[in-house]
Symmetry: C2
Subunit: 135 residues, 2 copies
């Protein structure tokens, strides 16, 4: 192999909805929502430069980075660089986005507890200006 070894723990999944993502991303559901666990889990792969829209989670979210280099930003704060093994704790209602660095793929597990309160509320796109300022 000529490229960095990838973890490739999970299959890539299905294309993320273009309405809520800028660039290409892939979502593999690991645990669908149900009343027993009240939790949804997915693995998400972002191609370089890809990111999701600004959004909130009514029950909060935990990200666990599995590969690559990425970004996480809460509204009104500086973006945070993420790499393999990082854990991000996103409290309920916090407006934020996440995605890949401009020059790297990025993968994380996303864990959404408290799905009886809702899973996600999508808002506007992260503009190119916002994205470039973050990186």
């Amino acid at each position: 192999m000529t490229t960095e070894t990838s973890n490739e723990i999970f299959p890539k999944g299905v294309a993320a909805p273009s309405e809520y993502f800028t660039g290409s991303a892939w979502v593999k559901t690991l645990l669908p929502g149900d009343e027993v666990f009240n939790t949804v889990i997915a693995h998400v792969v972002f191609e370089p430069g890809a990111r999701n829209n600004w959004h909130t989670h009514p029950g909060g979210q935990i990200l666990i980075v599995t590969d690559g280099e990425g970004l996480y930003q809460e509204k009104g704060r500086s973006a945070q660089k993420l790499t393999k093994g990082d854990v991000v704790r996103i409290p309920p209602g916090i407006l934020h986005w996440h995605g890949a660095a401009g020059d790297s793929r990025f993968s994380h597990i996303a864990i959404n507890p408290g799905t009886d309160k809702g899973t996600v509320n999508w808002l506007e796109r992260v503009t190119d200006e916002e994205y470039q300022a973050a990186g």
Copy 2:
């Protein structure tokens, strides 16, 4: 390297308590329990042959296998072989154990939702006879 490439997403963590584990295992806490998420997350590495005691989770547990070859068994059922990317859904109150195969390390993320109900109730050790029958 002469061995299979490991994911090594997380540091190994601290030694698992010998009271509840047979053989060597390592626990890295990824999300401590709190009232916001009501969820505890850890990464666990089992050395070959290591396993935890029979136990139950009052809020259930989800395992996500990150590396190696392992085993999962519910009381009264055949053991299930596990490999990278597998997800195990363990409902509340189900008596079970998990651990490494005899000839492989084994690593998983363990997600415990509903920790307001409790996290884990430990029971007796998995005997060598039970372990050998499972593998």
